[in-house]
C-alpha cells in the first residue's frame, strides 16, 4: 500500500513539473489531450482490463458528457460546474439501465451490442440538429472558470485537466486494490467461481460499466469546455477503437498502463508528423510491433526490455 502511495506521488510530481520542460507551446495542448485520454482509458480499463467486459461504444459516453455540458451551458446558459456532475450522473444512470440487458451478453456479442450503442449515440449527435448543431458541430461553449480565473490558455487547461486526471488515477488505484477490485478481477478470471464465492457478478458488471461511463462523461464535459467546440466526428466508432487500443497497448488491468497507452497514442501522431504521408504506415507498424513484442502492454513490456538490456550490458565479453 505504501508503494502505491509513492508511485502516485512520483506520478503527480511528474505531471506538475512537465510544463516546465515544455515551456508552454504547442505540445502543452497535446498534453491536455493526454490527460483527457488518460481518464477515458482508465474508465475503459476498469471495465475491460479488470472486469474483462469489452465495450466498443465508449466514445458515445464521452460524447454524451461533452454534448450535455455543451448544450446546457452554451444554449441554456447553465453553470458549467453544475452541469458537469449532473451530466455524469445522467450518463451513469443511462449506462446502468442499458448495462443490465447488454452485459448479459459475452465476448463477441457484447462487442457487437456496445458497438451498436456507440453508433446509435453517434447518429443522435448527427441528426438532432436543433440541439447539437448536427455534423457541423456546436460552438460557443464557455471555458470553465474559478472566481476570476478563466481556463482559457493551454497551461491553465493543463493544470485543470490534470487535477481531475490525478484524482481519477488515485481513486482508480484505490478501487482496484480493494474488495471491489478483487471481485472484478475474480469475475474476469472465473465468473462461475466468483459467483460461488458470493460475488453478484451481474450487478457488479453493470456497476463498473456505469462507473466507467461516469468517468467518460466527466472527461467529455472537460473536453467540451477546453475545446469550446464539439462535433460528432470526435465521438465516432474510430475513437472507441482508439480508446481500446490505448488500454491494450498500455496494459490491461493497470491504471498507470492506461496513462502510458493514452500518452503514446496521443503523442505518436504528433511526433510522426515529420514523416508526412508515411506517418500512418509507421504508426500502424509500431502498434503491431508493440502488440507482438509486448503482449502485456507498455507497463509490463518496458521494464522487461530494460531488464534485458541491462543484463546484456552486464554480461562479460566473450572476446
Amino acid at each position: 500500500m505504501k508503494r502505491e502511495l509513492l508511485k502516485f506521488l512520483a506520478f503527480s510530481a511528474l505531471v506538475l513539473l512537465a510544463p516546465l520542460l515544455f515551456k508552454g507551446g504547442y505540445l502543452m495542448n497535446v498534453l491536455v489531450f493526454v490527460g483527457i485520454n488518460t481518464m477515458l482509458a482508465i474508465g475503459l480499463n476498469l471495465l475491460l482490463g479488470y472486469a474483462g467486459q469489452i465495450s466498443l461504444g465508449h466514445a458515445g459516453f464521452f460524447g454524451l458528457g461533452a454534448y450535455l455540458s455543451g448544450i446546457l451551458t452554451a444554449s441554456y446558459g447553465l453553470d458549467p460546474w453544475l452541469v458537469m456532475p449532473l451530466a455524469a450522473i445522467a450518463v451513469g444512470c443511462l449506462a446502468f439501465l442499458i448495462g443490465f440487458p447488454i452485459l448479459k451478453l459475452r465476448g463477441h456479442y457484447l462487442a457487437m451490442a456496445t458497438l451498436g450503442l456507440g453508433i446509435i449515440i453517434y447518429i443522435v449527435f448527427n441528426e438532432t440538429v436543433e440541439l447539437t448543431g448536427g455534423p457541423s458541430g456546436l460552438s460557443g461553449i464557455p471555458n470553465l472558470s474559478i472566481g476570476a480565473t478563466t481556463f482559457d490558455t493551454d497551461i491553465r487547461n493543463y493544470y485543470l485537466i490534470w487535477t481531475f486526471t490525478l484524482v481519477i488515477v488515485l481513486l482508480a488505484v484505490n478501487l482496484t486494490n480493494s474488495r471491489v477490485g478483487r471481485a472484478l478481477k475474480a469475475i474476469h478470471d472465473s465468473e462461475v467461481a466468483a459467483r460461488v464465492m458470493g460475488v453478484n457478478a451481474r450487478l457488479l458488471k453493470v456497476q463498473v460499466f456505469a462507473l466507467s461511463a461516469v468517468i467518460s462523461s466527466l472527461a467529455g464535459s472537460l473536453y467540451a469546455h477546453t475545446m469550446t467546440f464539439v462535433s460528432p466526428a470526435s465521438f465516432g466508432f474510430n475513437f472507441s477503437i482508439e480508446l481500446l487500443t490505448m488500454v491494450v497497448i498500455g496494459g490491461l488491468g493497470s491504471i498507470y498502463g492506461s496513462f502510458l497507452g493514452a500518452a503514446l497514442l496521443t503523442l505518436l501522431p504528433e511526433l510522426l508528423r515529420g514523416a508526412q504521408d508515411y506517418d500512418i504506415v509507421i504508426y500502424g507498424a509500431l502498434l503491431m510491433a508493440m502488440v507482438m513484442f509486448m503482449p502485456g502492454g507498455l507497463v509490463r513490456g518496458v521494464p522487461e526490455l530494460v531488464r534485458k538490456v541491462t543484463r546484456m550490458k552486464g554480461r562479460p565479453d566473450h572476446a
Partner: protein
C-alpha cells in the same frame, strides 16, 4: 441438512437425472458415486445453482433453495469446489482467499475508491482471516504466489481454503481427489475430516473408491441418472446392484 427431492433434469431429449432424492445429514460426509455419465456432476450443478432443474426441489435446513443463483447460495452458507479447479489465476493465493471473504465484508465502490477508514480496517481484517485459512490448509507459505502458477495439488487446497473462507454450513466438492497423487489424497482425506470436525457438512462426488469408503458416513450411488442405492460404505460395498453397475454387467 441438505435435502434433494425428486430431482429430474432433461437436456433436450436426454434425461440426465430421473427422480433422484437423498439427504445429506448435518455435520456428516456424504459421498455421491457412480460410473461416468451417471449424472453426478449434473446433480451438483443443480444443487449449487449453476443449472436449473426440470423438476424437483432442493432444501437447506428446511428452506427451499431450488433455483437460487450461486451468489445467493453463498450467503445461505452453501459453497462448492470444481472438478477442474476454478482459481482466479491472475491473482495471488492470498487474494484468492480474500475473494472468499466477499460476503463477510461490505465496502462498496465509493468507500473503496475513497479509501474510507472503515474500508481500510475491513481490508486488514479480511487479510488476517484469509491468512488463517491458508494456514488451515497448509499453504500459507505460498500466500504471495500467483495462483495460476500453483501446482495442481496446491491449487486444490487453495480452492478448498477459498471455499472455507466463505464460512459455509455445507461444502460440495466435485472430485476433490482427481489428479492428486496418493500422498496428496491422504492429506486431502485428513483435511476433509478436519472440515467435518468444524461442524461443516460435506458432500462429495468422487471416483477414488478408497477415499470414499474411508471417509464417507453415507454414500449415494447413481447410475444412468437414477439412484441405484444409498447406505453406509459397508452396505454399498456389499450391494449386488452396485457391484453389477461398476463391473458393467447387464
Amino acid at each position: 441438512m441438505l435435502e434433494v427431492s425428486a430431482i429430474t433434469q432433461v437436456f433436450g431429449g436426454v434425461t440426465a437425472l430421473d427422480d433422484v432424492s437423498f439427504c445429506a445429514a448435518k455435520g456428516a460426509i456424504t459421498g455421491v458415486i457412480g460410473p461416468n455419465g451417471a449424472g453426478k456432476t449434473t446433480l451438483f450443478n443443480i444443487i449449487t445453482g449453476i443449472y436449473r432443474q426440470t423438476s424437483g426441489r432442493v432444501t437447506l435446513e428446511g428452506k427451499d433453495i431450488s433455483g437460487l443463483p450461486p451468489e445467493r447460495l453463498a450467503r445461505r452458507g452453501l459453497v462448492r469446489t470444481f472438478q477442474n479447479i476454478e482459481l482466479f489465476g491472475g491473482m495471488s493465493v492470498l487474494e484468492n482467499v480474500m475473494v472468499g471473504l466477499h460476503t463477510k465484508s461490505s465496502s462498496g465502490v465509493l468507500s473503496c475508491a475513497l479509501k474510507m477508514p472503515w474500508s481500510i480496517a475491513e481490508e486488514r481484517r479480511i487479510r488476517t482471516e484469509a491468512m488463517k485459512w491458508l494456514e488451515f490448509t497448509a499453504i500459507a507459505d505460498l500466500a504471495d504466489v500467483t495462483a495460476g502458477n500453483l501446482p495442481f495439488g496446491k491449487g486444490r487446497l487453495l480452492e478448498i481454503a477459498r471455499a472455507l473462507a466463505v464460512g459455509p454450513a455445507i461444502i460440495l466438492m466435485d472430485e476433490p481427489a482427481a489428479g492428486l497423487n496418493s500422498r496428496e489424497t491422504l492429506a486431502l482425506a485428513r483435511l476433509i475430516q478436519a472440515i467435518r470436525e468444524m461442524g461443516i457438512t460435506v458432500v462429495l462426488v468422487e471416483h477414488d473408491m478408497e477415499l470414499v469408503m474411508d471417509i464417507c458416513d453415507r454414500i449415494v450411488v447413481l447410475n444412468l441418472g437414477k439412484k441405484l442405492a444409498e447406505g453406509t460404505p459397508r452396505e454399498i460395498q456389499e450391494n449386488p446392484e452396485v457391484i453389477a453397475a461398476y463391473l458393467g454387467e447387464g
